[in-house]
């Protein structure tokens, strides 16, 4: 029988404990994986610290369809908390039921990402938040109109004054409130996290084997590293029939043609379909894609190569990704002002 690395580690651990004569309290594997735990502190800019008033206002705006030109689409229409803060669609649907070119990314853990959007064109959540509101194909709203509409409602006038005293209702304060709410949407504890903390049985044996494949033969960690399982970088994965320039539209460097931002793998089970164009319905299909080393080799990311994974290794990878699903975090919905 092939000795599995996990078993080897367990054996080492048992030996270690035996030598110390320690009690049978469960100790995690010899390796320290604490860098895979989410830092408790949420990154936030000095000029927009997270407060309850700002979070509550941001949540009102996030779920208010009046933020769109049609008064029918809210941020939460596409970033739907019941669908992993995405929409369950291959690519998003925007103003007038128009189908957009890219998938709706989850907003989970965006606080920890330096660049926003699939192509990284926004350097902060504040800059990101007002993009889709005004984009003709998305929410199709005129910002001056929106400021007028919100200013006409006492409920919003009070909420803005509470959140940003003396700053008024402006594009800036709308952006700051939305960004604050988005920052608070962070991943919760998953079986993987409990396993890292030392609960030996929190994650199945199969998922533990999947983690080994993830770190080794599967080469996943080369891009999906760190607690958020992303390098915050840009890669061309060789998807079929895709001529979206991606990051190249922002930075004219050859390697970025067709490159998109590495998404988080936290709660990935909840955000199907997958890839920037929604090409794959299941995680199994995604693993098969990587196992082939991608399809289109033109400008393929150099980290990509055929992996020669066995069926059981592929299944274990999927089990591992599913062990990254956090505890449900119920969202209480705000009551929106009507006057």
């Amino acid at each position: 029988m092939k000795t599995h690395p996990t078993l080897t580690r367990t054996a080492r651990k048992v030996l270690f404990i035996a030598c110390l004569g320690a009690a049978a309290s469960s100790v995690q594997a010899a390796e320290d994986y604490s860098s895979f735990l989410r830092p408790a502190e949420i990154p936030q800019p000095d000029n927009n610290r997270i407060t309850t008033a700002r979070t509550e206002l941001g949540k009102m705006l996030f779920f208010d369809p009046r933020l769109s030109g049609s008064n029918w689409i809210s941020c939460g229409t596409c970033h739907n908390p019941t669908l992993g803060w995405s929409d369950g669609l291959p690519t998003a649907i925007g103003h007038g039921m128009g189908v957009l070119g890219r998938a709706t990314p989850t907003i989970l853990n965006t606080a920890y990402q330096p660049l926003q959007f699939w192509d990284g064109r926004a350097r902060s959540l504040e800059k990101q938040a007002v993009g889709p509101i005004q984009a003709a194909g998305e929410m199709n709203q005129n910002m001056d109109e929106l400021v007028k509409e919100l200013s006409a409602l006492k409920g919003y006038r009070d909420a803005f004054e509470d959140a940003y005293p003396g700053e008024g209702i402006t594009e800036k304060t709308i952006a700051k409130a939305l960004a604050t709410y988005e920052r608070t949407i962070v991943s919760t504890e998953s079986p993987f996290d409990r396993w890292v903390k030392g609960e030996t049985h929190a994650m199945s044996k199969q998922a533990q084997q999947g983690f080994e494949v993830f770190l080794g033969k599967g080469r996943c960690v080369l891009c999906h590293g760190g607690f958020n399982f992303t390098d915050n970088g840009f890669h061309n994965l060789g998807l079929k029939n895709d001529d979206d320039p991606g990051r190249y539209g922002i930075r004219k460097v050859k390697i970025l043609k067709g490159a998109f931002k590495t998404p988080t793998l936290r709660d990935v089970e909840l955000t199907a379909p997958y890839m920037h164009n929604g090409a794959y319905k299941t995680l199994e299909e995604v693993v098969d894609h990587y196992n082939r080393g991608g399809d289109t080799k033109d400008n393929l990311d150099p980290n990509m190569q055929p992996l020669h994974l066995s069926a059981s290794e592929k299944a274990s990878l999927v089990a591992f990704m599913k062990a990254l699903t956090g505890e449900p975090a119920p969202v209480t919905l705000p009551r929106l002002p009507i006057e």
């Binding site: 990051r247 460097v253 390697i255 970025l256 980290n303």
Partner: protein, 116 residues
């Protein structure tokens, strides 16, 4: 920032060579490592360094994944392409001014090179 001792060393290297070489000031070469998705010079993370006209930076990848160092600055536009762990590529800075150097794959890797 490059520590002043390192700057002095670099300057000293240039000056010493100048004294020894009758013709012109010989350029220095400085190794910039890519380590944990940061730029590292002599073990220290750097976000800005100062060099002299004619100096060369050798970008060396110390990470288990690829990097792709480039600049779109007017003063010195270059794209070193992607290279794996253990490999390095060089750029010589032939004009005075400021150059923004970035990794295309990991835009958090950013450094300002002032050429004097």
């Amino acid at each position: 920032m490059l520590k002043s001792s390192q700057q002095k060393l670099l300057h000293a290297a240039v000056i010493t060579t100048a004294l020894l070489t009758a013709s012109a000031v010989q350029a220095a070469e400085l190794v910039v490592d890519q380590h944990n998705k940061t730029f590292v010079v002599e073990g220290n993370k750097v976000e800005a360094i100062t060099i002299h006209v004619g100096d060369t930076l050798r970008f060396r990848n110390d990470d288990p994944f690829f990097h792709n160092i480039f600049s779109l600055s007017d003063l010195k536009t270059f794209d070193l392409g992607s290279f794996p762990k253990g490999q390095s590529k060089t750029v010589t800075f032939d004009k005075a001014g400021m150059v923004e150097v970035e990794c295309a794959i990991h835009p958090e890797m950013y450094m300002e090179v002032t050429v004097k």
